[in-house]
């Protein structure tokens, strides 16, 4: 199993500002994933964070809005840029276990943009 620490757990931010969310894993993993869960909705994959290369973004998500860093095999950050109230969501990072099966999630960052 993998233990994932995500910071901050919650934040209230002013529109137009940016927030960087950190995700730390207790073991080395090849790929890390970032998801967004808008209020009352399901989880949507934002991007795959690859170590040593640029992140791969899903349709509807762009690097300018959600820049991602992956400096090593245990750490990644997601920045939510130029925030608007529509960005109010829970953001979760996830990793896949070494067997390539179970996906583990951090506790999430609850973001409110005012």
């Amino acid at each position: 199993s993998a233990v994932i620490s995500q910071k901050p757990s919650r934040d209230i931010c002013q529109r137009g500002t940016s927030l960087t969310i950190q995700c730390q894993v207790d073991s080395q993993v090849t790929m890390m994933f970032w998801y967004r869960q808008q209020p009352g909705q399901s989880l949507t994959l934002i991007a795959t964070a690859n170590q040593g290369s640029e992140a791969t973004y899903e349709s509807g998500f762009v690097i300018d809005k959600f820049p991602i860093s992956r400096p090593n095999l245990t750490f990644s950050t997601l920045t939510v840029s130029n925030m608007s109230p529509e960005d109010s969501s829970i953001y979760l990072c996830s990793v896949v276990g070494t067997g390539g099966t179970e996906a583990f999630f951090g506790q999430g960052t609850r973001l409110t943009v005012v």
Partner: protein, 113 residues
């Protein structure tokens, strides 16, 4: 493409059974089931791999029919603690999908005394 989950919601009395279904239009490698309580992150329940297996977690079990690309989650003799929103997450067989979960819309389960 998002898997289709049904029903949207179900209300049960304690001790009753329920079935939640998840179907995909894509060939699947695995189906994951999660339960989320309000204000919390999703909690992993079980994973079913290609091969049509069944699994259980206490009185919650699941099956995966790979021919139909469908999975079902069975809540047996439901307990109050089973309340929450259940999500299926699927990993498809395409080469660029490894590790990426596509989640269904969720099924809200309310268990009443």
């Amino acid at each position: 493409q998002q898997p289709v989950q049904s029903p949207q919601a179900v209300i049960l009395r304690e001790g009753e059974d329920a079935v939640i279904n998840c179907s995909s239009s894509k060939a699947l490698y695995s189906v994951h089931w999660y339960r989320q309580k309000h204000g919390e992150a999703p909690v992993f329940l079980m994973i079913l791999l290609k091969g049509g297996e069944q699994k259980g977690h206490e009185k919650i079990s699941a099956s995966f029919n790979e021919k139909k690309q469908q999975s079902s989650l069975y809540l047996t003799a439901s307990q109050l603690s089973y309340s929450g929103t259940y999500f299926c997450g699927t990993v498809s067989m395409t080469t660029d999908s490894w590790g990426k979960l596509q989640f269904g819309a969720g099924t809200q389960v309310v268990v009443t005394p």
